[in-house]
């Protein structure tokens, strides 16, 4: 992990060709504590280095990372297949009373 809380986590290839990575709670907590704010959101980058033969990447982290109701965090998962930005409130249950954007129909 670097000083800005960005994590690099080498995956392991399992028998199904899935590159599996687990980010433990402590690492995640430290990363969030050190994360820099961009656009008012603490951003933690998790880089998964490419692994030969990987058909998919699977990243495990505590669900609590994605249930924050504050909406002031985000996690950027970087693999060679895609970069996926997960808002820290994507699993929050509260539906805020504001218009909803639905980019996909």
């Amino acid at each position: 992990m670097d000083s800005a809380g960005n994590i690099t986590a080498a995956p392991e290839l399992n028998d199904s060709g899935i590159a599996v990575t687990e980010i433990d709670d402590e690492t995640l907590a430290t990363a969030l504590a050190n994360a820099k704010e961009t656009d008012g959101k603490k951003t933690v980058e998790i880089t998964i280095p490419a692994i030969e033969g990987a058909k998919a990447y699977e990243i495990s982290l505590a669900a609590s990372a994605l249930t924050s109701s504050a909406g002031d965090t985000r996690f950027v998962i970087k693999t060679d297949m895609a970069v996926v930005t997960l808002p820290g409130n994507m699993l929050a249950q509260e539906a805020a009373p504001r218009p909803r954007r639905y980019p996909s129909a």
């Binding site: 297949m81 930005t85 994507m90 929050a92």
Partner: protein, 285 residues
């Protein structure tokens, strides 16, 4: 993800060598059908376009493919030349494919100025033609049709329970107009009527659009109406439409033609497409 897992051959060929990815979420080992319109997930897929694609990068877009190989365009999908990625935002997980779509229509010859916006917006799945090969660019667009396009272009959604009295539940525009009403964009005529099948005047189109951009997309409505001085027919603009039109002109979203803003004229389908194309490029990320 491997394209060979798609059973529909025509679809497989359309996707071709382009990337297709599956995103999924599991909680405690169980698949979780994530769907949260309030918290979009942003995706960027590295992509190197072909030469042909690079000549028309706006036609690189994204399709959502469900379990039954049913395709739904993701209107915000686009190629970002700077990062060399195809980016899009989603609120549910599934399969997503990068595609190159060049939709066109046989009746665009007379509207060269609108050809590209119409083709891009149609290729992204935002605008539809009036037939398989017709767009009817010179036809007037109705209030209902414009509302459908505006809501779809911006990807707005809202839960609503009531609608205008003259919007029937089985109308194809019921949802879009209901959303527009709920969000305070469509105000109707004071008698709870929307007149959905009427053509929409240019000033009403601009007013409605400025209102939605101001409320939800970060446009600031301006009271400075001096930008309208260059239009010889600015006197035709209704009081309620002045600020909205002035703002859109200031932002370059509306340019008028031949020193006219033509506020009372009906809006053609071509004009609506060009306007929404500009809105898409300025406000939809």
């Amino acid at each position: 993800m491997d394209v060979s897992q798609i059973e529909d051959e025509e679809l497989r060929q359309l996707i071709g060598r382009r990337p297709i990815i599956q995103l999924s979420l599991r909680i405690d080992g169980e698949d979780f059908p994530w769907n949260n319109p309030d918290s979009p997930v942003r995706v960027a897929i590295p992509y190197t376009p072909t030469e042909e694609e690079l000549a028309n990068p706006e036609h690189i877009t994204v399709w959502h493919i469900d379990r039954d190989a049913k395709v739904t365009p993701v209107p915000n999908g686009r190629y970002d030349e700077e990062t060399g990625t195809v980016t899009f935002s989603i609120t549910h997980f599934s399969w997503f494919a990068v595609v190159y779509v060049h939709k066109t229509f046989g009746d665009l010859a007379g509207v060269g100025w609108a050809r590209k916006p119409i083709e891009v917006m149609a290729s992204k799945g935002i605008i539809q033609g009036t037939g398989p090969d017709t767009f009817s660019p010179a036809s007037n667009i109705t209030r209902a049709d414009y509302t459908v396009l505006l809501i779809r272009t911006l990807g707005l959604r809202a839960e609503f329970t009531d609608n205008f009295d003259d919007v029937k539940e089985d109308a194809y525009y019921y949802e879009a107009v209901g959303i527009a009403k709920k969000l305070g964009i469509a105000l109707g005529d004071g008698d709870n009527r929307f007149n959905p099948e009427e053509p929409i005047s240019r000033q009403d189109l601009m007013t409605l659009s400025a209102r939605v951009l101001d409320k939800y997309m970060g446009l600031k409505l301006s009271d400075d109406i001096h930008v309208l001085d260059r239009f010889i027919d600015k006197g035709d603009i209704a009081e309620y439409a002045l600020s909205g039109i002035a703002t859109l002109v200031k932002e370059g979203l509306i340019v008028g033609s031949d020193s006219r803003i033509s506020p009372l004229a009906n809006t053609t389908r071509a004009e609506a497409a060009v306007f929404l194309y500009r809105v898409y490029n300025s406000y939809v990320k």
